[in-house]
Amino acid sequence: MHDLVSIRDLGKKDVEAVLSEAARMEKMPPKKSGELLRGKLVSTMFFEPSTRTNMSFQAAAKRLGAKLMTFYPSVSSTAKGETLGDTIRMIDGYVDAIVLRHPYEGAARYAADLAEHPVINAGDGGNQHPTQTLLDLYTIKKLKGKISGLRVSLMGDLKHARTMRSLLYGLGMFGADVNLVSPSALRMDEEVIRETKGMFGINVSQTSDINLKGVDVLYVCRIQKERFQDKYEGEKMQKEFRVDLEALRGAPEDLAILHPLPKVEEIPPEVDSDPRAKYFEQAKNGVPVRMAVLYLASKG
């Protein structure tokens, strides 16, 4: 692996290699991991706000012994109108790897085409966020011991959430059984579902009812209310698609509840202490997974 732009660029073997490397990183003593990228420079270029992705990439690079060069768009020549292409070409000459988040879709692909050093996509608008998908798969595998054959429910705004589209692809790759739960107006694009089913031959069902019976993993994302012209409609959908303690009554004891975070109203704070809530553990897994990605990218 040189660049990591899209989950679509990875085959099952590539994903397995990242998951297995992440497991190794998680167990590795800091003294040892700190030698892996010693002497290397990593630039984090975030053109959009980020908490988890930015911090965990920084933590990952530092735990590997690399030095960080943080790019700040507001105090760089970007503010003077310099193009992304020129900025990438220039920074590529200074560092050994670039971690890029940009609001435009395909920005990471474009950067990877221009840069000689590895480019890692940390989110390109509404398109891809491959390290999120990898850490989701890593978390599921770590919690359940496998992905194949698991019954996974993806719930929330499946129309707009990039996380869900990429995760469906990743789950398809490993042969999970997927149930898509969303308001009918926020269903995932039919073509995306058809393509994933066609590529991997998995079962994908769709419903608007929350039924957690027999579910192994419940992956929740928020309703993107800002996309509704009618704010009340958005609020109403959020109330219906909420995982509170009432909704969890009767759900399997070993259910794992995941969320890419930040969570707002879709999972109220009282669920955080439920042993089935695994989203903070999931966020923590971002570090070993991103360590694995940076390390594998540096090896080429």
């Binding site: 435009y104 879709e105 395909g106 692909r109 474009y110 398109n127 073509e191």
Partner: protein
Amino acid sequence: MCLCAWPCFTLPQKVDAMPLMVEKISEGTVIDHIKAGAGMKVLAILSDAYPLSKMAALIMNAHSRKFGRKDIVKIEGVFLDEKIANRISLVAPSATINMIRNSKVSGKRQVKMPDTLTGILKCPNPMCITNLERAETSFLRVNDRHLRCRHCERLFSPEELA
């Protein structure tokens, strides 16, 4: 009927009495077997690609043994390059391109949607990086109904792209 601006057919005194006549071209291209209704889109692609001084004719709803009805486009003095033929394949996948030299058909081929279309189409997604920076667009054929932008990864129908 022909909708082009040139006097490429003769209006008879009595319309019912004479067939519609379209001039033959001696050097140029005839795009045949266009699905009825798609001829205007083919003409739009040609007018986008070639100077407006070229004489062109569009015949709509011509009789076709194969399709029942079809459109035909003729353009004088132009031989289509590969990129334009690929664009035409998006709106008229059944079209055949006939090259005319010395008033005779010198070559004939059916258009074929290629697996990759590079540098000839604009991505309709306003948030695609290709609409911000000077990145060359590239679309990958997923199936007959969809192509995927290599950058933003969105799926588009051939007609949306053409």
